[in-house]
């Protein structure tokens, strides 16, 4: 039932920039936990990302946003569904065709301390990607490429022979970005790229990512739980809850007119760094805890915590439907 509605949704969704680079179609990723327990981490997700666009994906821990990113990157094989990348069905590709396409899609990880090999110099961390895809003909060319990448991300090229522990968190995240850029990708998934960094450094990294996007025409999927930063960097934002996309809209529109009660609660929970504004604000406090994704509620996944829930919500799962032009919400009682 949700499939038919959802497929209309993705045919209507127009990326805000150019033609689609990525189309995520009816994507499911379920984990079999044994004993008949199945964790539906990603559930019937349909999304389109246009060339040069930044799609933000937000939601709380356990909502499936990281699994979605990893499945789109094909670090996980999907349970069902398809991702069409640059016109090619990603999950049907094999061997060298898959390897070629991996050049076009790269990932930046959350923890700049854990995602760099401590025993490799920065030259080798970045150079490894060049070697795998045979992008440097000689050692001299490899060295030159690494140095120019370090320069691009604002690091001193003379530091190429250092090891990861000699850099600060912000610098390591820049190394992670340089590594991702080494193969000249079209699409980058950044999974919580700034949440391990101090606030003053977060702005440095976000500005760098935006700069690179403008210069290189990159397409981003920006996964984060910091909604203020996601709003800042994204063209459109998808809100996930228990494996499903419950709302999708242009970022200014989503924050100005959230239609789904979950998005409304999520936005109202974020404190604003202004004591006068905080004094006036009314907070929607959600009841209870996030239900287990192993045994999600029937019908609408949010109904157990929703102030608007009725009997209908227990029976019918609301599909992601357009509530106003370019603004989609999966709620029987979505406000417009």
């Amino acid at each position: 039932m949700s499939n038919s509605n959802a497929s209309t949704a993705h045919s209507i969704i127009k990326p805000s920039h150019g033609d689609p680079l990525i189309q995520i179609r009816d994507l499911n990723k379920h984990f079999n936990l044994g004993g008949g327990q199945i964790l539906k981490a990603v559930n019937d997700v349909n999304l389109t990302i246009g060339r040069g666009e930044t799609l933000g994906v937000v939601g709380e821990s356990g909502c499936g946003k990281s699994t979605l990113g990893r499945t789109v990157m094909r670090l996980y094989e999907p349970t069902s569904g398809q991702v069409v990348f640059d016109g090619k069905p990603l999950y049907d590709l094999k061997g060298s065709a898959m390897k070629t396409i991996r050049r076009d899609m790269q990932m930046i990880f959350q923890d700049p301390y854990a995602s760099l090999n401590p025993r490799m110099t920065i030259t080798d961390v970045i150079g490894e990607a060049l070697d795998i895809h045979k992008l440097a003909g000689s050692r001299a060319e490899r060295k030159k490429k690494v140095e120019s990448l370090l320069d691009v991300v604002g690091l001193n090229p003379d530091h190429a022979t250092r090891y990861p522990h000699e850099f600060s968190g912000g610098q390591r995240q820049r190394i992670g970005i340089a590594r991702a850029l080494a193969v000249e990708p079209k699409f980058i998934i950044a999974d919580e790229p700034i949440s391990a960094l101090d606030v003053s450094i977060q702005a440095q990294v976000v500005n760098l990512m935006q700069d690179l996007q403008r210069k290189m025409g990159l397409t981003y999927m920006f996964i984060a739980h910091d909604l203020s930063m996601v709003k800042h960097i994204s063209d459109r934002v998808a809100v996930m809850y228990l494996g499903r996309v419950v709302e999708l809209a242009d970022s200014d529109e989503l924050y100005a007119n959230p239609a789904h009660p979950y998005t409304q609660a999520l936005l109202s929970a974020i404190p604003i760094p202004d004591p006068d504004v905080e004094l006036e604000r009314e907070r929607i406090t959600l009841k209870g805890e996030l239900p287990s994704p192993i045994n999600p509620p029937s019908g609408c996944p949010f109904r157990t915590r929703c102030p608007l829930a009725t009997e209908k919500c227990a029976k019918d799962t609301p599909a992601l439907a357009e509530v106003k032009k370019g603004h989609f919400a999966a709620c029987h009682y979505a406000s417009v």
Partner: protein, 332 residues
């Protein structure tokens, strides 16, 4: 107003290979009864070391702590460890960032709450258990009667943090030190936890020291704010003064570098360039000088003192607040 805590010239040095890290370099502040004081700053600015020193949780050696910490009129730094045991948990409670590693996985939640009650208040185990159930109810844990005998791994992240608050507040301490209490939690859970803390503060009259890097949480919860940078207080004052009339370029930089939910998207973020200084060799002048876009010549070699500025109890350590600054000053 009654001052329950007065910190004077607190210094904490750590001996490490390659020198001495001056983690806290002469910090002064006070906390009044029933108020919430937030300490903000980046990793490594000394905010957690300061907080842990208040309870003497920094092992010495390797640390050398000097200065004065007066809590309810008594000097903390000269107390014996045995004397500290009667203060920790009873007079001062602490909650930590990561409730999973700071709770004991082998003891039931109830046991961890009653431990302090039996020890400090001489309660019978029956009475302590009744109190534990009451505390769990107070922090908003459903079915406290059955939850009290469960273990930390059976609780979610938000519930563990609630349990930790229940442990910290069970003996009704006059000071609660909350070190990044919501950093590991989702925003909706953060909102729940902060409202629990505020409710309990109103009911019990507890003073709270809130250590955080989240300026939104500060704006929402704190009465006063202390901004730390490179082991020193660079600005302090009432929350509204700090946010509306910041007098230190670092405070202004912090406020500019975070995007606000209620702002239009097109305004660019203004980061603070560079990184904090190495505290093995702290700079001779203002520690923020190298990252400051308003730095002057005087800043390079002369460390500015914390001086009163506009606003009640508002102080800042920046040469720009000197009465003659701006009159033909030359930039560095």
């Amino acid at each position: 107003m009654e001052r329950i805590l007065e910190v004077k010239d607190l210094r904490v040095n750590f001996k490490v290979r390659g020198g001495i890290v001056q983690a806290v370099r002469g910090v002064n502040f006070h906390v009044n009864k029933g108020e919430t004081v937030a300490i903000v700053g980046e990793s490594g600015c000394g905010k957690s070391v300061t907080a842990q020193s208040l309870m003497r949780l920094i092992p010495s050696p390797p640390a050398v702590t000097t200065g004065s910490i007066r809590f309810k009129g008594e000097e903390i730094l000269t107390k014996s460890l045995r004397q500290m045991e009667t203060i920790r948990g009873k007079e001062m409670g602490m909650i930590f960032q990561d409730p999973m590693t700071s709770l004991n996985p082998t003891l039931s939640i109830g046991k961890q709450i009653t431990e302090g009650l039996v020890k400090h208040q001489g309660m019978s185990s029956e009475a302590a258990k009744t109190r534990a159930v009451e505390m769990l109810k107070l922090v908003g844990i459903p079915n406290p009667e059955s939850r009290v005998s469960q273990y930390p791994h059976e609780f979610s992240g938000g519930m563990r943090q609630r349990a930790m608050i229940a442990i910290a507040l069970a003996c009704n301490p006059s000071l609660l030190i909350a070190d990044e209490p919501t950093t590991a939690l989702d925003v909706t859970v953060q909102a729940q936890i902060m409202s629990v803390l505020k409710d309990l503060q109103t009911k019990l009259g507890t003073s709270i020291i809130l250590i955080t890097h989240d300026l939104g949480v500060v704006a929402d919860s704190a009465d006063r704010v202390i901004v730390m940078y490179a082991g020193k207080v660079v600005e302090s004052g009432k929350t509204r003064d700090i946010f509306k009339n910041p007098k230190h370029p670092y405070t202004r930089g912090l406020l500019r570098s975070v995007p606000r939910l209620d702002q239009k998207k097109d305004e660019p973020l203004i980061p603070i360039f560079g990184t904090p200084p190495d505290l093995i060799k702290p700079p001779a002048g203002c520690a923020f000088c190298a990252r400051c876009d308003e730095a002057m010549r005087v800043c390079v070699n002369n460390d500015p003192a914390l001086v009163p500025v506009e606003g009640e109890g508002h102080t800042a350590a920046c040469w720009l607040n000197h009465p003659l600054a701006g009159e033909g000053g030359e930039s560095a």
